[in-house]
């Protein structure tokens, strides 16, 4: 089969690889009909995620048709259309039973490595390094889905792939980011990063009743899309984020702040700390660029909430934790507990309250995927979200 494989930094190729097989009685094999490049895939592409190996199949946003089912899988049958969440969950461990799906205690095959790196292992993920289990990803014609009787979401008739694909990651990620802000009707919610997750966070914050939603980015298309979703847009290259947020909140700052950027914050001459971070990264003295975390801690109104769906991988420094502590800010973060939200979100899609396909700007064949990683990363050609058809 064809699959997008990682061969090193900035080197993803469409290779021919062996088809996956059922390895466990609860598995299923899914024939991928649609998949997408996630912003966090760019961290793999740019070489910021440790534990990748030559030939690893990437991709964790995918859906398709079940073509083979293990003998102990009572949930799925051949022919089912499913969206597969990016987190692999056993459904039986203590965390899964609590609904903390993204920290499943059993699905990471390389638990010992993750225990050493993070203190405790988190869930296995599709196509996201050997630190999260080394599972083959979904940028492929077929995928083996472990514990396939737990996480996959069956798609009702009448919905297109484009409408439901993002249930597997970025829609619930944006949603969880807003939900964990505990939004009140008089809140201003500021969202750093108007990429796909930021777009969904903007809409989630609005639907959850925020008085005002602000989107912060530098790419005109993303800002235009955020405005369409009801946000006030701040172009951080054109104006001071802190000054503008002050103007919009009567000088008090936003009550809720969402970091939908993560470890690869834009490096620009305007933000000296981002240049500093980039220099430290070059010397391997820091793994992530936490400009947004710093700015959020400074901008947020005292007693506010910082919600961080953006992916961080390792070590950051010069974090103004004094501001964080003295202002009494709460920090809520984590990989998304996808299955906690899929029922409600699927319902909203069916009811027509939201059509997540608005975010798709490019649809290409899987073969053209490697080139689209660059287009997406460089925000060229108006690219906000790339969908691929294997």
């Amino acid at each position: 089969m064809r699959a997008l494989c990682w061969h090193g930094k900035k080197d993803i190729r469409c290779d021919n690889v062996p088809d996956p097989r059922i390895e466990h009685p609860r598995d299923a094999i899914v024939k991928v009909t649609t998949c997408a490049i996630c912003g966090s895939d760019l961290h793999l592409f740019d070489g910021f995620v440790p534990g990748m190996m030559h030939g690893d199949i990437v991709g964790h946003e995918f859906m398709g048709e079940v073509v083979e089912v293990g003998p102990e899988n009572r949930k799925l049958k051949i022919g089912d259309r499913v969206v597969v969440p990016f987190t692999i969950c056993c459904g039986e461990c203590e965390q899964c039973r609590r609904g903390n799906w993204s920290v499943c205690e059993r699905s990471n095959r390389n638990k010992a490595i993750a225990d050493k790196v993070f203190g405790h292992s988190t869930a296995g993920l599709f196509g996201y390094s050997h630190l999260t289990g080394g599972y083959a990803g979904g940028h492929a014609e077929y995928v083996r889905v472990p514990f396939a009787d737990v996480a996959p979401v069956k798609v009702p008739d009448g919905l297109t792939d484009e409408q439901v694909l993002f249930l597997g990651d970025i829609l619930p990620t944006g949603w969880q980011a807003a939900v964990q802000c505990d939004i009140e009707p008089d809140d201003t919610v500021a969202v750093w990063g108007a990429g796909p997750v930021g777009q969904f966070a903007v809409r989630a914050a609005l639907m959850l009743g925020a008085k005002q939603v602000v989107a912060i980015d530098r790419v005109p298309e993303r800002l235009s899309m955020a405005r369409a979703g009801g946000a006030v847009a701040i172009d951080f290259e054109e104006e001071s984020v802190l000054e503008r947020l002050g103007e919009l909140t009567g000088g008090k700052g936003p009550e809720k702040c969402i970091d939908a950027v993560g470890l690869e914050a834009h490096v620009g001459a305007k933000h000296f700390d981002s240049v500093y971070d980039r220099a430290k990264q070059a010397f391997m003295a820091e793994s992530d660029r936490p400009h947004v975390l710093r700015e959020m801690m400074y901008a947020c109104r005292p007693a506010g909430v910082l919600s961080v769906p953006g992916v961080y991988g390792g070590l950051v420094d010069k974090i103004p934790f004094g501001a964080m502590m003295n202002k009494g800010l709460s920090l809520r973060t984590g990989q998304t507990h996808v299955n906690r939200w899929t029922g409600d979100l699927l319902g909203m899609i069916q009811e027509g309250k939201i059509d997540p396909s608005f975010v798709i700007t490019h649809t290409v064949d899987l073969e053209d995927g490697p080139a689209m990683f660059e287009t997406f990363r460089d925000k060229e050609d108006g690219c906000v979200k790339v969908v691929m058809k294997p």
Binding site: P185, Q199, R203, L206, R218, G230, D344
Partner: protein, 155 residues
Amino acid sequence: MRQGRHEAVAIGLAWFSIGLGLAELLMPRAMARATGLPGREALVQLYGAREIATGIALLLSRDKAPAMWARVAGDALDVATLATGEQPRAGAAMAAVGPVVALDLWTAARLQERRSKRLRPVFDYSDRSGFPKPPDEMRGIARRSIPGQRQPATV
């Protein structure tokens, strides 16, 4: 807007460039001695002419990024020349130009960012709301439907 601010910095640097250039052109011996380059007055005058030219280019150009990069290139030449000068004056001169070099680099980078942004085509996504109604009518529609979501306090 900030664009004006960066251009203002560039214009300030342009006048600085012209002033320095005039000093180098008209007082080559004093400037050469002060910077640890005695006997190289002709070179100092040449650099003075370069400073004036980049200063005028900065003042006259609408897109100031290329002229700003020319100033940065000139800075590199100045630093390389000072590195061959007599100590300690050349070292002191180098320390003095350091902040100016940093400001030049920063301004050039900022102007370049804006230039790149201006030159790329912009796609219009203003119709991509994802909502069936205007955003204002969607505000709060999910507030009561999500289990575990806190409800507004009632007094």
